[in-house]
Symmetry: C2
Subunit: 349 residues, 2 copies
DNA sequence: AGGAAAATTTAAAGCGCTTTGGTAAGTAAT
DNA sequence: ATTACTTACCAAAGCGCTTTAAATTTTCCT
């Protein structure tokens, strides 16, 4: 059933029917009621494409998945982010359009998306430190919100980010306070902006406490379990191994833990681990006392915030750029303890 | 730049320009070339909505995320599935539309999607044993492919599924062959079709070897790490604990392993674990000898297959329903060994 | 009752594309 | 040279909706 049929059935014009259903005021109350009932009875649903064409609004937002030939893995973190965002879209009647884009055609893809009009705005994930997408999107004029920031970008744009620098600074200081001197950082992909901020916080904490960051204790890569495992294993086999690790995600931390246990060491006693925890639904750092001491920030919540911000920009394009910096919670779990050589000194209770 | 502008610029009709760009034959070679160049030079992109309205094809497929108020968690497995599917969509120029749907409005939502015409077909995830969606979608007439099956559904429909029954039967037999008698099953949500098939395979294997399945060793729930952990922990504290576990996903298995280690037991020696392994990119069951003995089947590949099947149905709606049953690989890792009481009998080399 | 103002309703244009049903020019056959 | 096909192009209708501008009806005042 389309609008024309419905209006003929009611003996009214398409105009009136359309207005009645879209809540415009210039329709008599009785008429509106009659129309609404008829629409429901005939389960009329307006065609989204036609509506979009007429209004210029797609009622959809785009998320781009960059597919690189090298690391074509979809992040579980992305899944939770999506879940959060889609809660908001659902509430506002928006759809979410995911497009995979080979990263060598990224510019082309964004221009495509903007021109072909299938979305009203876009969420940018995983910005690099020097990300060209922000400038590009601004030039194109498509509303967008970045999940994360691009340090290299000087102009004002919409973003939602975690205070990664402070978060990793605090975590490092916490370990230093426990007497750890050799602290490893198992970071995310080097090019990622969040990874460089974490490195920065870590470096800063060490240096301000008179420690010299050791390049041999710093790794950067895709945040898989296998990466966490192999990195930690290698480091634990060094002549002068670290006594503590900083992990970039709960998945990496699982790998680190596996390496520690495989070496016959005890987590939280022989080796300490602090991880960033995105509070993933399926990999909750659970229990009364959580397994890992962690810097926690829900990525699902970040998804919600990004989506809300984007919808707000879409509905009111004039407003100034919004920024939202989220602090993490440093929650103490079972994975941290005093540095091993200090353990001889009896701990209080 | 739209079609009208482009055609005026070229001094040609919209018809000719449209035909030239869409590869229709009735255009002179020289004209086509000229048009293509002009289109590229002016970076003309046809408006997807208008095109869809005119052709009746959306060039998009829908994936529905059921959001229940109770378990509103997005599965990392879903993320990998999506990744696989989107590879295929990308290759064929399709978009992927994700819509969250509160599960009490599911029927409404599917009708909506079909009527509003924003997608050409739909992928159904996580079918229940008695799933009403299949009948509904057939009635609606929207092309669809189910990832999994619905045992209760008697009609013919398109699906891609893992042979869960055989897979868990083989895994159970493998454990029984190793001398295990008390084997626990940490299954997925009870209502899920795949879970009931796995239970079936497990039960069948035990019974055919003269073992009686113990209800106390069978759990069903959302497949989180915490669930694996708490289930395994409880069972290990039983008077007569299991010597082996069957896990429903790698994430659950991680939880089981945590419980085992927390009890001071050794995985693969004191307690054996076999898990289903969806071959998730971020949680690879890696190493030269994988950590877990597992029944492996790439969910990403399943995503590809579903997508391919759906696109094939969309382009040729007449064809008969296709089914694709995938067998798992039972790969032996470090998490299984002979049942503990047999270990006194020296193993051969 | 008569006219202005307000409340309803409608016809028709337009969103940007495809596609049907042409026409005009070029080529081959008679 | 006439007819009959091809070939290359075009005008206009139509996809299903919104929205402008105008028409109609109702209400209110004097």
């Amino acid at each position: 059933m389309n609008l024309k049929e419905l209006s003929e059935l009611l003996g009214l014009s398409q105009t009136t029917v359309s207005r009645a259903l879209n809540g415009y005021p210039e329709v008599a109350v009785a008429t509106r009621l009659k129309i609404q009932q008829a629409a429901a009875a005939n389960s009329y649903r307006p065609n989204a494409r036609a509506k979009g064409l007429a209004t210029g609004r797609a009622m959809a937002v785009g998320h781009v998945i960059p597919v690189s030939s090298s690391h074509e893995i979809v992040n579980p973190i992305f899944a939770d982010f999506i879940a959060g965002a889609s809660e908001i879209y659902l509430r506002h009647g928006y759809d979410m359009v995911l497009s995979s884009v080979p990263d060598d055609r990224e510019e082309h893809a964004y221009r495509d998306i903007a021109a072909n009009g299938s979305v009203d705005g876009i969420i940018v994930n995983g910005p690099h430190a020097a990300d060209e997408r922000i400038g590009l999107l601004r030039e194109i004029g498509l509303p967008f919100v970045v999940h994360g920031r691009a340090s290299g970008e000087t102009t004002d744009y919409n973003w939602v980010d975690v205070n990664n620098r402070r978060s990793f600074m605090r975590a490092s200081e916490f370990l230093i306070d426990l007497g750890h001197q050799r602290i490893a950082l198992i970071n995310g992909l080097e090019a990622m902006d969040f990874a460089s901020r974490r490195l920065d916080g870590y470096t800063h904490a060490l240096q301000s406490r008179g420690l010299v960051p050791d390049p041999a204790l710093i790794r950067s890569d895709e945040m898989t379990e296998a990466y966490g495992y192999s990195s930690a294993l290698q480091m634990l086999e060094m002549a002068h191994p670290p006594t503590a690790f900083l992990g970039s995600s709960i998945i990496v931390a699982l790998g680190i833990r596996r390496a520690i246990e495989e070496k016959g060491l005890k987590l939280g006693r022989d080796v300490s681990v602090i991880t960033h925890d995105d509070d993933l639904g399926y990999l909750r750092n659970g229990g009364d006392v959580p397994t890992f001491t962690a810097t926690k920030s829900s990525v699902r919540q970040a998804g919600r915030l990004c989506a809300e911000q984007l919808l707000s920009i879409i509905s009111d394009p004039g407003q100034p750029a919004q920024q939202r910096l989220l602090e993490t919670e440093l929650t103490v779990g079972q994975s941290t303890g005093p540095a091993p050589h200090l353990i001889t000194r009896p701990a209080t209770a």
